[in-house]
């Protein structure tokens, strides 16, 4: 739908949708303009330069420094840790997620700019893993944010993580890593799940404190 509208206008200008007010929050959309000619080039560049946001959410964070440093050097694939969510492409969920972290994850994920990808790391984001009966671990992360690639195991070996990263590279090149599109299309559903977990108005109450303009 979005692409259609831009083609009709034909200017290549980023369009601004009308600001709708539903359920008490303001939304705004700038659809991503896909240049047909340059798209393969951009896809190649996206594949070759994936910046990881530095947000280690669980025990998998312990395997991040070895991944980035000597021995398993991820920089040779053009990946690099980036502390700023605005510049990052890949969100690596490294391990179990507690509700307190999930709030930050959602906010950070929404701060990232499209196209953005999520890779979950370990069994816990898939179904809770060893913490399946814990009252403070989110069981199925896929209900709250879209995940492109999941790596099973506790803890997955570094080689497994690298295999996952290769997979996400392949997906990016083929244009299949479309978690951000799914998030946009099914925003109502994700939003409802998040609200069910945290209670309505959690953004207004807690997240506003972290980001004043929220």
């Amino acid at each position: 739908m979005d692409e259609m509208k831009i083609d009709e206008n034909g200017n290549g200008r980023v369009m601004e949708q009308e600001n709708e007010r539903t359920e008490g929050y303001d939304r705004l959309s700038y659809p991503l303009k896909e240049f047909k000619v340059f798209e393969p080039l951009f896809r190649w560049a996206r594949k070759k330069s994936i910046w990881i946001i530095t947000f280690c959410t669980g025990c998998g964070g312990i395997e991040m420094p070895p991944l980035m440093n000597a021995r398993y050097d991820l920089e040779r694939f053009g990946m690099m840790p980036n502390p700023s969510p605005r510049m990052a492409d890949l969100f690596l969920i490294t391990g179990y997620v507690t509700p307190k972290t999930l709030k930050r994850i959602i906010i950070t994920y929404e701060m990232m700019e499209d196209p953005k990808y999520i890779m979950s790391h370990g069994s816990c984001p898939i179904n809770g893993g060893v913490y399946w009966d814990s009252y403070n671990v989110v069981k199925q992360l896929d209900r709250y944010i879209p995940i492109d690639v999941s790596i099973a195991g506790c803890m997955p070996r570094v080689e497994a993580v690298m295999d996952g990263i290769m997979e996400i590279m392949r997906k990016v090149e083929r244009g299949e890593a479309d978690g951000w599109k799914r998030y946009r299309d099914n925003y109502e559903w994700y939003r409802r799940n998040q609200d069910e977990l945290f209670g309505k108005g959690w953004r207004k109450e807690t997240a506003r404190r972290w980001l004043k303009w929220l």
Partner: protein
């Protein structure tokens, strides 16, 4: 009348500088990686990064100044570049271009600061404070080094400095100017934003500082600006101390030598805090700079 040759040369030089600047950034990352016993990214990695950043959807803007900052920075960097006599291309050379270039190379920082200040992110704000203080701190030794040079050669023209070095040997080998070289190299580290003076973007402290809110095309602009700036700064260094060059190949090699010096220093030193950096700049480099100036007066 429009001097078409000059225009073409200028455009060509900007494209060449951007490209070589990106390659320099790649070499920097690769060399650092090799020192850290890693494989490192391919040398053309910064070009891919910029391409990717250009292909990102960008929906955030913090107003006009936020957009204007990176453009301003890039513009100033290019202007500075065009004043430097690179090999046999003397584009905007004039009588006092030493001063012009020395200060145009400082201004892009202000552009980034302008944009960063308008984001409202406290990390940006802290980064801007740090950036401005670094600038103030490094002005003094930087100025002293340039005064020593101008004093020694008796001219403010980069062209004549290159020509005089061609006759009397590189200024690196003049004892008084060697002190100036050391001073300039220390400030050079801060100009490139490398350790021990990468205080502005210190990722573990202020998470990228001024850059924290930039993403997508703004970040791509800033990367391009950094590439041009890197080229211009290494070129300036080469012209001042390594005697310039007759053709682009030799010039490139000399620039590379300068770059590697910076990389080696950066990979063995941790980062200063901002007040230590300011104190450091106003102590040893300043003393050395004053000695250099005095020596050039006596000679």
């Amino acid at each position: 009348m429009i001097d078409w040759k000059l225009v073409l040369e200028a455009i060509g030089m900007v494209i060449y500088a951007t490209f070589v600047g990106f390659i320099f950034m790649g070499i920097e990352r690769k060399a650092m990686a090799r020192i850290q016993r890693r494989v490192g990214p391919p040398i053309y990695q910064p070009i891919i990064d910029v391409l990717k950043l250009l292909g990102k959807r960008e929906a955030i803007s913090h107003g006009f100044i936020y957009d204007f900052g990176p453009i301003f920075a890039l513009g100033v960097s290019i202007t500075a570049l065009l004043f430097i006599p690179i090999a046999n291309f003397h584009l905007f050379s004039s009588n006092a271009d030493l001063i012009v270039v020395a200060y145009l190379l400082e201004v892009p920082m202000l552009g980034i600061m302008l944009g960063a200040m308008s984001t409202g992110n406290p990390y940006s704000a802290v980064g801007v404070q740090r950036g401005l203080l670094t600038m103030v701190a490094m002005q003094l030794p930087y100025g002293l080094a340039i005064i020593a040079l101008a004093q020694h050669y008796g001219t403010f023209s980069l062209n004549s400095i290159v020509a005089l070095q061609g006759i009397h040997g590189w200024s690196l080998f003049v004892p008084a100017l060697f002190l100036a070289f050391i001073v300039f190299d220390i400030t050079f580290q801060a100009m490139l934003g490398l350790e021990p003076f990468d205080i502005i973007t210190a990722p573990a402290e202020v998470s990228m500082g001024p850059m924290v809110e930039y993403g997508g095309k703004h970040a791509a602009l800033l990367f391009t600006q950094h590439a041009v700036q890197l080229f211009a700064e290494t070129a300036f260094f080469t012209v001042l101390f390594l005697g310039g060059a007759g053709n682009l190949g030799v010039f490139f090699l000399k620039q590379l030598a300068v770059l590697f010096l910076a990389i080696f220093i950066a990979s063995i030193f941790p980062r200063f805090t901002i007040d230590q950096a300011a104190k450091f700049f106003w102590k040893w480099p300043t003393i050395l700079g004053i000695i250099a100036v005095l020596l050039t007066m006596g000679w």
